[in-house]
Symmetry: C2
Amino acid sequence: MQEVKIALLGAGTVGAQVARLLTVHQDELNVRAGAKLTLIGVAVRNINSQRDWDIPSELLTTDAYSIIRQADVVIELMGGIHPAREYILEAFKNGASVVTGNKALLAEYGPELHDAADEAQVDLYYEAAVGGAVPVVYGLRESLSGDRITHVLGIVNGTTNYILDKMTTKGLSYEVALKKAQELGFAEADPTADVDGFDAAAKCALLASLAFHTRVSLSDVPTEGIRGITPGIIASAKANNYTVKLVASAKRREDGIELFVGPALIPNAHPLANIRGVYNAIVVEGEAADRLMFYGPGAGGAPTASAVLSDLVAAANHKANGGFAPRELVYGDTPILDGSKATSRYQLKMVVQDSVGVLHAIMGVFAKNNVSISDVSQENENDGKENTCYLTVTTHEAVYADLQNTIDELNNASQAVTRFTSILRVENA
Amino acid sequence: MQEVKIALLGAGTVGAQVARLLTVHQDELNVRAGAKLTLIGVAVRNINSQRDWDIPSELLTTDAYSIIRQADVVIELMGGIHPAREYILEAFKNGASVVTGNKALLAEYGPELHDAADEAQVDLYYEAAVGGAVPVVYGLRESLSGDRITHVLGIVNGTTNYILDKMTTKGLSYEVALKKAQELGFAEADPTADVDGFDAAAKCALLASLAFHTRVSLSDVPTEGIRGITPGIIASAKANNYTVKLVASAKRREDGIELFVGPALIPNAHPLANIRGVYNAIVVEGEAADRLMFYGPGAGGAPTASAVLSDLVAAANHKANGGFAPRELVYGDTPILDGSKATSRYQLKMVVQDSVGVLHAIMGVFAKNNVSISDVSQENENDGKENTCYLTVTTHEAVYADLQNTIDELNNASQAVTRFTSILRVENA
């Protein structure tokens, strides 16, 4: 068997597990790759750090370039943009294939990296960048390569799913649920990247690029977080057979690709509604395949390492035996739609004046702005004041700009609406 | 781009969709395969049959060998054992790769076919053989190639899942639910292959072979059907937070591979409990990956065709650009365990004499046979006779032979048990 030399960059939670599995399962991995996998070095910032698994000290180095230049396959698990980008470009320059789990880097520099891999005629694999062990990158890149994908809708951030799940099942407030997630290590001390949706937006960009054979970057994705989700919103969703989830959505429409990351109401009959805790799940709809779902742990050292190793086996197989990974082809000229043109169903909850003619006036504003309504319900409990009540309006598919005009007009020009308490997208069952 | 010539054998529900998608999406498929895909012929039994999609008449032939001998890739969708096996062997002999959805053939002649493909150094792909569009073959063969799989547990037969789902959600009897499935085209006039578990057993053999890198055939799989599932069993499961599902299970134990197809109690918190209607879902547990699930339509022309086309794209890519599919490697010497050695938790319901000392006597028989009990409950409603009541016993992990001895002894030697009303495996949450 031909030897394939592997350089590992980073030995954190995932990197240490990759080194462990490469050692413990070496014989099986060699058989599967059709190659003799040899770990030639592990680049780390600090040789003496404590690690989840003891990497033989002769493999450790602080000089990443020294091992990159000898490698056939480079595994990049250090994270961050720089110097990860420079290391990967150096790997390609030296004819090595690359396996990475760096979603932030791919969402920002994906096109550059794919072009560099193509030019060097080597592979760029990144299963671990979306959904941890969940093989959705494989699914989109290979399993559905004979189909035309219409919609990708996923729970791709375990932290926010944990928080929303605890709010739903235990009735916790956002603050308490976040604190619990932090205590359990499911959320960072600074939770911004997760709770404001940026992590999910980077994954959304990767999924959309793959699904629609185009180049989507982070800045293309309209993104909302979950800080504004209250127990009241959760309770009201439950009462109406919905579950609130932070979703990443990428949809093919006739005029372009529509993207969204943010909280949405998922009908309880939808398979995503039942995804609990820190698990991830991605629903992929194809013209022929109908609806598929990929489900599993979205994070964690060993699960993510499993995804890295499957990429490594494929990349090493190609190095030793020929062939290559599917290229990230761009074809067609489907534009990415501006967020204002997105269409969705929406549910708006508002506090309104409880007097004759108010409902009529509000409906008039919706109609004038071309937003068609499927459902209106008024709740008797008032807002603590006399003369007000809650109104819940669910729309048919509406254009976001039209919805926004409706909201602005109701906020500014109408005496009928005191305030909006929530505005959420509604996914179809 | 290099031309890759494709011969299609069979133009039934799936074959006609494959021909349609190959024609309609030709440009996209060519780009993805990195090859010019040319359908050179479609072998059918009767040229003049009515089909779901009109195949150009100049492509139709009744002489399969004539197109097989010119092809680079042969797609076999005719079903049955003979002459499908002979056609596929002829394809390999001529250096063509093969894509098939023929689970019965693979479960019986898999080893022969894999060996023939290896010898010819061509690909044998069969995503459509398990779970329709659900990419579980891909998942096991490629996405989890860096992991060590411990358990595959799946709902792989849509017909029985539909029947059990209707019994559960609508309270139908087995007979009425079966009739409804037949009316909707979800069950055959002769439903034996589905309801007696044989279809699921063939898929179980394929999944186990893939997951554990060994050769499992249909006859290795202890198989039970669902004809004995009564509304009473369903109702009792529901009351105890279980759902009855026909599952295919393949588990790696220290001493070998344990296989089972049959009805089982799935805890409602388990992701398989929520799989509705004719959908399929396969849970795969890996040492590193934790628990993944693949979900989607398990049958239907277009979904299954989507799986066939993804295989075609991969096979054509290899033909044009080098590389090959992962080989079905056999390594290690893990034996397939005899069904009597299988271990599982079980739930037994029985009608027992309602008198002092009976429970003690029954518990004694379990203990003597080494079956440890986790839970006992007695129901007050009697069996229509005086002096009897229902007893439900749930065991810890027990060896099947020990359980069988317990049952035999209680049936034959004991006055305490009038009869057993159900004996079901219980899956862990």
